[in-house]
Symmetry: C2
Subunit: 299 residues, 2 copies
Amino acid sequence: MKAMNVDVKSLLNQGVELTDRALEELLPSVDTVPASIHGAMRHSVFAGGKRLRPVLAMQAGITIAGTLPPGIARLGAAIEMLHTYSLIHDDLPALDNDDLRRGKPTCHKAFGEAIAILAGDALQTRAFEVLAGLDAPPAATVQIIGLIANAVGTVDGMIGGQVLDIESEHLKPTPELVNAIHRAKTGALIRVSVVAGGVFAGATPNDVARLTLFGSKAGLAFQIVDDVLDLTVDSAQLGKTAGKDEATEKATWPAVFGIEQSRADAARLIDEAFAALDAYGSRADGLKAVARYLVERKN
Amino acid sequence: MKAMNVDVKSLLNQGVELTDRALEELLPSVDTVPASIHGAMRHSVFAGGKRLRPVLAMQAGITIAGTLPPGIARLGAAIEMLHTYSLIHDDLPALDNDDLRRGKPTCHKAFGEAIAILAGDALQTRAFEVLAGLDAPPAATVQIIGLIANAVGTVDGMIGGQVLDIESEHLKPTPELVNAIHRAKTGALIRVSVVAGGVFAGATPNDVARLTLFGSKAGLAFQIVDDVLDLTVDSAQLGKTAGKDEATEKATWPAVFGIEQSRADAARLIDEAFAALDAYGSRADGLKAVARYLVERKN
């Protein structure tokens, strides 16, 4: 991966700032009746996320349009609401039963299980409401909603991946299984963040095909690196319980391929992802820099 | 309420048939991987619902367009998915903790709590995906998605009503509280079923205003009658546990106003709802007949 003249830290910081501002504006205040659920939604949304999916959407928008498309932060905020809803439900006692997320009490620990379930539900609903209000041509808005709902759904989407993950605990993981879980559980939302950012910026069908290829490769690389970090970094640096995948016998990439092969696979996937963006020249530098960060990060 | 020449039973049966056919086509089969969640989604969706919200959407479509708009069954199916998702989550141990729904095991009883949570999540997602694929002009589709997401949300919508309902258990119910809960928890989705059906059929802003008024009144009347039935009809006839509202000290209309006043309020609300449809003459006969059924039903 060759060096590019992009300051990825400032791209990430700008993405966090724009996304947080949009989320602040789009989520009901904690004083809005009924107050408990709005407190719970904000608790989890503002728990310190890196906003990687919104940043990918924004950089994909720049790749297509040449500059940051006005209003794209709302698309990023909606995607972040969907990501946060999935974390809230994933942490519930009936699922992963986690008490901490990014060093803070999980939603059900702070607000009780009933409110946590409904807060997750409500973040999904609000995400689609925000998408319906995007400042884009109606046909693009409809396309974005359909793509995102598909990526969050049960067939090769986020929820389907969660179910596969639950069903496969304590089974011996195969390459096919871990690939299917990763592509669906985390890969689909990362891929659609890139594609939706492009569509918002006016992507043609050819652009959509390229961004889909890029997003698929980058999304899988991201999850492989996540698996490796879970095994190799301690909990303090990771901000969540390290080694948990191994303890719960989750189907992970290193469990199937080993750590060294996993690192090599992630690097190869990123190279392949970059190749999908050749047509865009330097306009894709920001998107590439963020993707490279995804696989070189330490937490 | 004067007699009309409409056979409401055949309208209802036709609505069930069209909705079930659309749901059958739109939900992944039980063989689709991962199978467990698709089984859970279908278990709850095909548990014998009366499809009242889809029927209201269809009759509102006829009120605006003069005939049943082609493709409106998919809109009804999406609304029914949202209704079913809310029932699955409402029945969970952390919320109402119900074992039976329409005489069958609730989703978490049949499939476990993790899959039930995700099945509810997935029905919401699939609903928005189906809405994004409606055969309507993109601007109408975007309007429908925004209206429905708003009606399902936390601010005067379905989830907000559920939270108010949970928070107010064991509190003495006031007229303001029970009104707020009913308008949000069940009223909002019934109202938006009517409005979305109209928008799908090409409603103007004036039409939307009339249908909103009609839907608000009919939705509140429906829930008042639901409360009265819970108190006055036995469990076998009701198909669910009768008297549960009183046992759990829920905020209900009869708890505040008494049974006789509740019945009178429901009848008055339906008369007011009908008045909102005067402009449509006999084209609204089907919609009125269904609304009258909502308040005259015995289960």
